[in-house]
């Protein structure tokens, strides 16, 4: 199956000469939730803007549903909903009117029943006749989502949907995303909260300084992250791992002063007790123990620092 969004070597140089995207290639599969993780200024919004038609790529191509976003923009954009990072709404308009306008702009015939359903889903129904300026920040964000959903997009971009919102709204937002996914909508969300990516994404992409550093299945990433290491310092130096310990994932480190045991924290048994028993049977005396864990945060920080040093 071909990806619903195909991004091929996209570069974006802004008018001032600043290169915000340095050749991004990415395929987004239909029905998945992809989280784009990256610090401020990484180019997340720029990438979304070039896909949605708000700005044009300097080079490279983007297809949505097989349609080029520049030459076949009508077909491409019809599939895409965008919830922008900034809360851009007309202050004096009523919620209902502004959501209805969005549907019309995308060429869809009036469907008040659908808009009612969307507003109810987003707990906005009792606010439908309220002018937007009278809404709280969280409610405004919901209005942005309602606008994006009003034209039934197959691909939805959420640009930092939970930046600066309270915990409750964040939970609601995650629930909404899960519901949309169940309806078959492909969702791309940007965030700089790692927990958020962990909580809802199927895949995670890390972007920094205009470059996509990694795109990986969340589960694979979590497995990598779930690896824990136990460092066993030995009383006496050894030159090689005794054969009786062959069944354990061990490495010899620091010229034989210590052993490093890797294990999966999520496995049923860590195997540590067994290892200890086997070690004393082999006559090894331990002096000290230390554990360390690599988290998504570590992976992320590591990746981001590498590109930082390179630039």
């Amino acid at each position: 199956m071909t990806a619903i969004v195909q991004i091929d070597d996209v570069k974006k140089v802004y008018d001032g000469g600043f290169e915000a995207l340095k050749g991004v290639t990415l395929n987004i599969e239909e029905g998945e939730i992809l989280a784009l993780l990256g610090p401020n200024g990484a180019g997340k919004t720029t990438l979304i803007s070039t896909i949605c038609g708000i700005t044009q790529a300097t080079s490279g191509t983007i297809r949505v549903g097989g349609h080029d976003v520049v030459t076949q923009y009508r077909a491409a954009r019809s599939l895409v909903g965008l919830v922008p990072q900034e809360v851009n709404l007309e202050p004096f308009e009523k919620v209902w009117n502004t959501v209805r306008l969005s549907r019309g702009l995308f060429g869809k015939a009036k469907d008040d029943a659908l808009i009612e359903k969307i507003l109810r889903q987003l707990s906005l129904w009792d606010k439908k006749d309220t002018p937007i300026r009278a809404l709280s920040g969280g409610m405004k964000r919901r209005v942005l989502i309602a606008k994006a959903l009003s034209h039934e997009p197959r691909v939805l971009f959420l640009d930092e949907p939970t930046a600066g919102v309270d915990v409750e709204l964040r939970r609601d937002m995650w629930e909404i995303v899960a519901k949309l996914k169940a309806d078959g909508v492909t969702i791309i969300l940007t965030t700089h909260y790692i927990e958020e990516a962990e909580a809802i994404a199927d895949r995670i992409g890390v972007i920094n300084k205009g470059q996509l550093l990694l795109v990986e299945d969340k589960d694979a990433l979590m497995t990598r992250m779930g690896q824990k290491q136990l460092r066993i310092e030995l009383q006496e130096r050894i030159s090689e791992i005794p054969q009786s310990l062959g069944e354990f994932k061990l490495e010899l480190a620091e010229d034989g002063d210590s052993l490093i045991y890797s294990y999966d924290t999520r496995a049923e048994r860590t195997g540590i007790a067994k290892l200890m028993a086997a070690m004393s049977a082999a006559g090894l005396v331990l002096r000290d123990l230390r554990t360390s864990q690599s988290s998504l945060e570590d992976i992320f920080v590591g990746l981001v620092q590498e590109t930082g040093d390179a630039a």
């Binding site: 802004y14 008018d15 949605c52 038609g53 708000i54 700005t55 044009q56 923009y73 009508r74 077909a75 491409a76 954009r77 019809s78 895409v80 965008l82 922008p84 900034e86 851009n88 709404l89 007309e90 202050p91 009117n97 209805r100 306008l101 969005s102 549907r103 019309g104 702009l105 995308f106 060429g107 869809k108 015939a109 606008k147």
Partner: protein
């Protein structure tokens, strides 16, 4: 064509207008009445007739043009500047619509509002002076064309403007003088000869002249020239807008 989008923009913009319908209605009524009190009574008592028409009636076409042109420009420029200013333009840029549809929606609404004001002024004027319109259809056609072309100009100004001052600068510094000097309140033939030549470089002269011809059957310049002028002006504006959307000037980046 994405007609649904054109319709949506048009009615969304018109809804704003209807919310303030009373204001939209009352202010032209009052200002027109004031013009008649000041110009019609004070000056009209000294100038009996211009080209066989009573002075009060003579200024009606110019008066309508003055309001229609300023209204068309301010409605259209504000209409597109506002989404740019508050950021809601992202939605227009990400929707499956082209420049023609955006323009039809915004310019259509701005022109409709200007047309409405023009008709209100015409109605008010009819209360003060005897008006017999010789070519009513031509009169309406001229009014529609003027509303449209100046709404196009307003649209360009709205896209160009980087702040509210600029938004008001062009109408204030260029359009208002051109309209006032375009023969709104006098016939070009009343000017000294040298100034008559200068006046012919003012595009608004052709509009007002043509409009006045529709009312009274006499004009400063031939009617064909008036039509050509407004056609040319509309074409220029459309060309500029096409270029703006093709290059994304001031909107995409």
């Amino acid at each position: 064509m994405n007609w649904e989008a054109v319709k949506s923009i048009y009615f969304f913009e018109m809804a704003r207008f209807f919310r303030t319908l009373m204001q939209s209605f009352i202010s032209p009524v009052i200002s027109t009445s004031l013009y008649f009190v000041v110009f019609g009574a004070a000056i009209g008592s000294r100038i009996e007739e211009v080209e066989g028409v009573s002075y009060g009636a003579f200024i009606v076409p110019g008066l309508i043009m003055l309001s229609v042109i300023t209204q068309a420009i301010s409605n259209a420029s504000f209409g597109i500047y506002f989404p740019k200013f508050i950021g809601t333009i992202y939605e227009l840029l990400s929707a499956p619509i082209n420049f023609l549809e955006i323009v039809m929606g915004y310019v259509g609404a701005a022109a409709t509002k200007a047309m409405f004001i023009g008709l209100v002024i015409l109605g008010t004027a009819a209360l003060f002076v005897d008006l017999s319109i010789q070519h009513p259809f031509a009169m309406l056609a001229f009014m529609v064309l003027t509303c449209l072309s100046f709404s196009l100009l307003g649209f360009i100004i709205g896209i160009w403007a980087g702040n509210f001052e600029q938004l008001q600068l062009v109408p204030l510094l260029i359009v208002t003088p051109l309209v006032f000097l375009g023969g709104s309140f006098y016939s070009i033939s009343m000017l000294p000869h040298a100034w008559q030549t200068v006046a012919l470089f003012n595009p608004v002269v052709y509009l007002i002249s043509g409009f006045r011809w529709a009312f009274f059957g006499s004009a400063d310049v031939p009617i064909g020239l008036s039509l050509l002028a407004i056609g040319l002006f509309t074409g220029l504006c459309l060309g500029a807008i096409w270029w703006i959307f093709r290059t994304g000037w001031k909107i995409r980046n």
